[in-house]
Symmetry: C2
Subunit: 441 residues, 2 copies
């Protein structure tokens, strides 16, 4: 019966492709329109990051469509942060408990698997089809070639610079914001060793925190690492001042000496790869008549919590759950979906901004490290009552982002008081942990 | 020498027309492009409010271009707020001191005067020319008829839904937000008496404050009043529930009995006139290469402080001042202008949102009225040290909005403490006013 309904999905990225599988499995006729060409046929740089951190919210959705096992094979577990100091010394901080980790996965590899799986469910993909206009009353898309098509439903999963959202912005009473941070990013590379060996610890997310900026590295299956330098666009230490071979070499040699030693192609990459900007996009409503925004199109966030894709995948799962509960009554579902997910999107947007400060600065801070230790102990003693914020966001997909955010705010207040106790660094093991955890109620 | 420079102004509204006069007087060649037809030839409703409150910031700019005296003739002074209660009783609250008042003026009348004056300075107006694209590197505009023109400078004064700003939004690292409030507005009318007499007090801005919504009235020179109902779009008491003749009559009769008695055409107007939405627009930067946003295009605000036009006119004056100081070095001027005016735009945006609550609710509040009395006394005793917030914004064009906002926040804190004193309503005259005012330092 659902097959009578024809749904257009705009954007064949990670979220659009996953959603097409969910909806095809419900019996809908699905057409996906993508402005780029078929990524399976091209190898070129698509203007997006090369690898991503897949964690529990994303995995849960991949499990539901039966792809989790296949994709875990392609992923590299990262059990914690490896912090690199100015001398090249390292310090490893576990993300969670035994068995809790995040996964470095290739964006394009994951996307290919999703598109190929979708085609098995009779999803039709149309590439090089760019949306130029949407008639929200008629649920009609106009494409760049002036062709028009009507659908029963349109879902915009076309990313941070969504053309579906741009069309909504032109309608009355659509709240919208786009906010850029002062930092941009540039991707660089540490190649594998001659025999494909990893030149840094494989199962970690590497961070070179330098207070106002940072370098990070994620492992790839071929033994290489993708590095990302997050650095101000302007100012004394900024991209605008790294314009000569000498300045780039000098900067990397003194600032990231151990990474520098592993980057034979630094200069070529630095002057070839683009500097990309980082934006937070918020909007509301997400649904207008029979058109819905989802994923980055509805809520693009900065990458510092590694949750952009995971949040988008969670959207797909939540939408599917609501369709189950509401028996595919889309009018109800669209309203419930945006009411339920908007607070979660706002929460993870803020958490992602906050986490940039944590990653580039606090991970080196004695108070921060002590706090992590105490919280870890609290979690060990009261595993269901005190769950550290990072764990709630990353490993507990049953806790909504907005709940995690609120609990995190409470935890922060409690821990601030705890850390003010005298000689806390020496005496923290004799804290009254029960008293601390009971403050959460 | 400036005449060698050709400046395009997009939008022939109030700000664009005024700016064209300022810049033509500096010797530039000015072309103004307006998407509507020439308002001097048409009488139709243009989708904007009929009259506006002109106050000191706006008047100051009109003085500079030599139009203040002519326009004051067309304006009606409003010395204070006339508050109408549910029984039709009224209570008058002065806006400031003797000689301080705001002015009800016709939007279209003012706009016509400005366009006609601009033409005297050889400004060229091109109507029905809609901007579809801007090339910021080439300073080139594409119009809806596919014609293209290059300029030395482009200034977008094309309002809250600016097409120049939309083009900027598509460029990298442009921060932007549009936020609608839950209320819309509908304009209504109280006609003049048979002999052109005013049916309500002429020299006042009338308010029917009803806590969650309000009706206001501004006088017109012909003896009529333009009424504006600010009312929620949705909910128990909202536009969506006023859908029948009976419900509208009943609502006005019980909620605004004295106004209702003066509105013979209520039903026709109510069901003919549109409900318009209310938006706050913020963005940054305002300048991209040689293209600048100004007025509502850069900072649209809600109308509750009566400052939208005044803020736009102040922009024109500040820009002209900077051109004087920097000897028409536009590169400097564009940067200085946005750095100086952005905090002022943000401040008046917030003040305008806050003032909606004051107008619709607080003006009836005993504490609020007492606070006004005490502040009035403070201003009388210390005229240069304690200037009430409304006066700073409305009557003191030398105080930037952002300064007014900051001082206003301080005053609010001080007054909150003062109002907590015991039996303050009876004893306020024996307060230590000197001690109060000295807290401002």
């Amino acid at each position: 019966m659902n097959s009578e309904k024809h749904i257009a999905i705009v954007g064949a990225g990670l979220v659009g492709s996953l959603l097409s599988i969910y909806l095809a499995k419900r019996g809908y006729k699905i057409s996906v329109f993508e402005r780029r060409d078929d990524m399976r046929k091209s190898t070129g740089y698509q203007g997006r990051s090369i690898n991503l951190a897949l964690s529990n919210r994303g995995i849960r959705a991949l499990e539901e469509v039966g792809l989790a096992e296949e994709l875990k094979q392609q992923a590299i577990p990262m059990h914690g942060r490896m912090i690199h100091d100015l001398q090249g010394n390292t310090n490893f901080q576990l993300y969670g408990k035994e068995g809790q980790f995040i996964n470095s996965i290739s964006r394009s590899g994951l996307n290919r698997v999703l598109i190929t799986e979708a085609e098995k469910h009779n999803v039709q993909f149309y590439f090089e089809k760019r949306v130029t206009h949407i008639d929200f009353d008629q649920t009609e898309i106009t494409f760049q070639d002036s062709s028009k098509n009507k659908f029963d439903l349109i879902i915009g999963s076309d990313g941070a610079f969504s053309s579906v959202r741009l069309a909504m912005q032109m309608t009355d009473r659509f709240d919208f914001s786009q906010d850029y941070i002062d930092h941009g990013y540039k991707e660089l590379h540490i190649p594998a060793g001659l025999n494909g060996e990893f030149k840094l610890e494989k199962n970690a997310l590497h961070i070179w925190p330098r207070e106002s900026f940072m370098l990070i590295a994620l492992p790839n299956p071929d033994g290489s690492f993708t590095l990302t330098l997050f650095f101000p666009f302007k100012g004394e230490q900024s991209f605008e001042h790294l314009s000569s071979n000498e300045s780039v070499n000098e900067f990397f040699k003194t600032t990231f000496p151990d990474a520098y030693a592993l980057m034979p192609n630094l200069l070529e990459e630095f002057f070839t790869n683009p500097v990309s900007s980082l934006v937070t996009v918020k909007c509301f409503p997400w649904a207008k008549n029979k058109t819905l925004l989802i994923g980055d199109a509805a809520h693009a966030i900065v990458p510092f919590y590694g949750q952009g894709m995971n949040a988008g995948f969670e959207d797909c799962r939540k939408l599917n759950d609501l369709l189950d509960i509401q028996k595919d009554n889309w009018e109800f579902v669209l309203n419930l979906f945006q009411a339920e997910q908007k607070p979660n999107a706002d929460a993870i947007a803020q958490l992602a901004l906050d986490n940039f400060i944590e990653m580039r600065d606090l991970v080196n801070d004695a108070d921060f490290i002590l706090r992590k230790k105490i919280e870890s102990k609290l979690h060990e003693l009261f595993p269901n009552k005190w769950i550290p914020l990072y764990s709630m966001v990353t490993f507990y997909e049953s806790i909504p982002y907005s709940t995690a955010y609120q609990i995190g705010q409470k935890q922060k207040k409690i821990m601030e008081t705890v850390l003010e106790s005298s000689s806390i660094a020496e005496n923290w093991k004799s804290l009254n942990f029960f008293e601390i955890v009971s403050q959460l109620n």
